[in-house]
């Protein structure tokens, strides 16, 4: 008797859902039909596999089963004069699934989900739903949006894809760079939402990071020649390596300088650093690669004091050239403080217009307190608290403000 635990079926679901949906969308030209068929197939699998064991190619089995069930159902509906079903069957006859190894259609689907004609919040939701296999309920909870709102957002997006004719294909070369940027932005946004929870359930948020990394790995597998895909993966891995050390057991934030570096995940660091080195060899830098490189410098350092801050400043100079934003300039100033001192950094920070951003005030406050200007530092912490929403960060800021009087 073969034993396949539920966790194993769950793993196959996580890994193969996106691929199966992508293939089925290609076959039937319709997202709803594809999703329903793949979910059907997994339901059958969950019933059958515990007895039969995993088939040699679980993905192939799911896709074949999903396709057969979809065809059966569509034939029935078509015979009842359902025009939609008839159209889907015609589509399937025009674009039959290849026999043999399953072709990977996920790349097309990634570009459909991240199409610039869809709002970014919609791109994120569709990517998690169609490629990640997350339910609408899970996505709504992760982004702290009412479930009805999220459901409506997804339905509207699917309708727009169908009605406006958003294609399922990898964009042509003139569009490719821009479209890839938009796909990478979606993946990074999913990761960041998991990483810097603006609010919400911490367990689901950890899953978001894992899902973003998994999808970025898929994209890297599908577009191995794109250095920015590599850069984004490295950036995620190196950031993720510090996950458990960046908060206390009570969920309070710990600054990079104060983290227990022995708790950083060495396997993730090794993988991330290897990718960064490969990017350096390719020498086709981009903003994600540079951010990954900055993280790699931190991962290399035994302590905050023994960090190669000059190199960090240089990398921020490079990043500013790609993305000349005040937030990048603010982060650069933090590194400048370590090289040239707090006064030089404060001058840079004061020149920025970022008063809506809590970290702007928090960083100013820290620099002011290092310069012994406690009264001004207290005002800056108050300004930070006035705009900060994340509870871990608020706790941290309140404590820092109290310690000024000590």
């Amino acid at each position: 008797m073969v034993q396949v635990p539920a966790s194993e079926i769950e793993r196959v679901f996580r890994e193969e859902y996106g691929r199966a949906v992508a293939v089925l969308i290609r076959a039937f030209g319709d997202i709803d039909i594809a999703e329903e068929a793949v979910q059907d197939a997994f339901t059958v699998a969950a019933r059958r596999w515990p007895d039969t064991g995993l088939p040699p190619s679980p993905a192939g089995w799911i896709i074949t089963t999903a396709k057969n069930r979809a065809i059966d159902r569509l034939r029935l509906e078509a015979s009842l004069q359902d025009r939609h079903a008839q159209a889907a069957l015609l589509h399937e006859r025009r674009e039959p699934l290849d026999e043999g190894p399953v072709k990977d259609e996920r790349l097309r689907l990634i570009f459909t989900c991240c199409h610039p004609a869809l709002a970014q919040s919609v791109q994120v939701a569709l990517t998690l739903r169609l490629l990640g296999g997350l339910t609408t309920t899970e996505i709504a909870r992760a982004f702290v949006v009412p479930e009805a709102t999220m459901a409506q957002r997804i339905v509207r997006a699917k309708n727009k894809i169908r009605d406006a004719g958003i294609p399922y294909r990898v964009p042509d070369l003139p569009d490719l760079a821009g479209r890839l940027r938009s796909a990478l932005a979606v993946l990074y946004l999913i990761f960041n939402e998991g990483h810097t929870a603006s609010s919400g359930d911490s367990l689901i948020r950890g899953d978001l990071c894992a899902e973003a990394i998994r999808l970025t790995r898929v994209l890297r597998e599908l577009m191995p020649g794109e250095p920015e895909v590599q850069g984004l993966l490295a950036l995620m891995l190196l950031t993720e390596s510090r996950r458990t050390s960046r908060t206390t057991s009570d969920g309070e934030m710990i600054l990079l300088a104060d983290q227990d570096r022995s708790r950083w995940d060495q396997a993730l660091i090794t993988e991330g650093q290897a990718i960064v080195r490969e990017c350096l060899r390719r020498n086709r830098a981009g903003p994600y690669q540079v951010q990954a490189a900055i993280n790699a410098v931190h991962s290399d350092a035994p302590s905050a004091a023994n960090t190669d801050w000059r190199q960090v400043v240089q990398l921020y100079d490079q990043l500013l050239a790609f993305s000349p934003t005040p937030v990048v300039a603010l982060n650069r100033a933090v590194a400048v403080a370590e090289v040239e001192g707090a006064a030089a950094a404060l001058a840079l920070v004061d020149a920025l217009e970022l008063s809506e951003y809590h970290l702007y005030h928090a960083i100013r406050a820290d620099l002011l307190s290092r310069l012994g200007r406690d009264a001004e530092a207290a005002q800056a912490y108050d300004a930070a608290l006035a705009v900060a929403t994340n509870s871990a960060e608020r706790t941290f800021l309140e404590r820092a403000r109290r310690s000024l009087h000590a």
Binding site: R83, A87, H115, A117, D163, A164, G165, I166, P167, R169, P171, D172, D175
Partner: protein, 118 residues
């Protein structure tokens, strides 16, 4: 092939370009029109007189009312449009990109409802 409406919008109160600039726009739009025809994507296109020339006709309870001026909702008015045919939205967006560069105004892309297959 799908059909798309590419409408050019004017925002009320925004300054009208100088006559020389308008000539430039006409030339650029003519060039795009030719390109659309050459590609076989042309269905129909036209520029409209200003919105002050519009009349709204509206039936309420079987009675037809006429109102001087444009349909009053909003501050944006359609200034002209293309109807094109394209394989998918990407192709339509590529034409719309050329259109907005030529006419120097925002262009909205909307798909026509599919005709029932014969």
């Amino acid at each position: 092939m799908k059909q798309y409406l590419l409408s050019v919008y004017h925002v009320e109160g925004e300054p009208t370009p100088a006559p020389e600039a308008i000539q430039e726009i006409f030339k650029a739009v003519d060039a795009v029109n030719q390109e659309i025809r050459d590609a076989g994507a042309w269905v129909f296109a036209g520029g409209l007189y200003p919105h002050t020339s519009a009349t709204v006709v509206n039936a309420k309870n079987g009675e037809v009312l006429m109102t001087d001026g444009p349909f009053p909702e909003g501050k944006e008015h359609i200034g002209g449009f293309w109807v094109i045919q394209a394989k998918d939205l990407d192709e339509a967006l590529a034409w719309a990109s050329k259109a907005t560069l030529a006419c120097q105004g925002p262009v909205e892309v909307r798909p026509f409802e599919d005709e029932p297959e014969a």
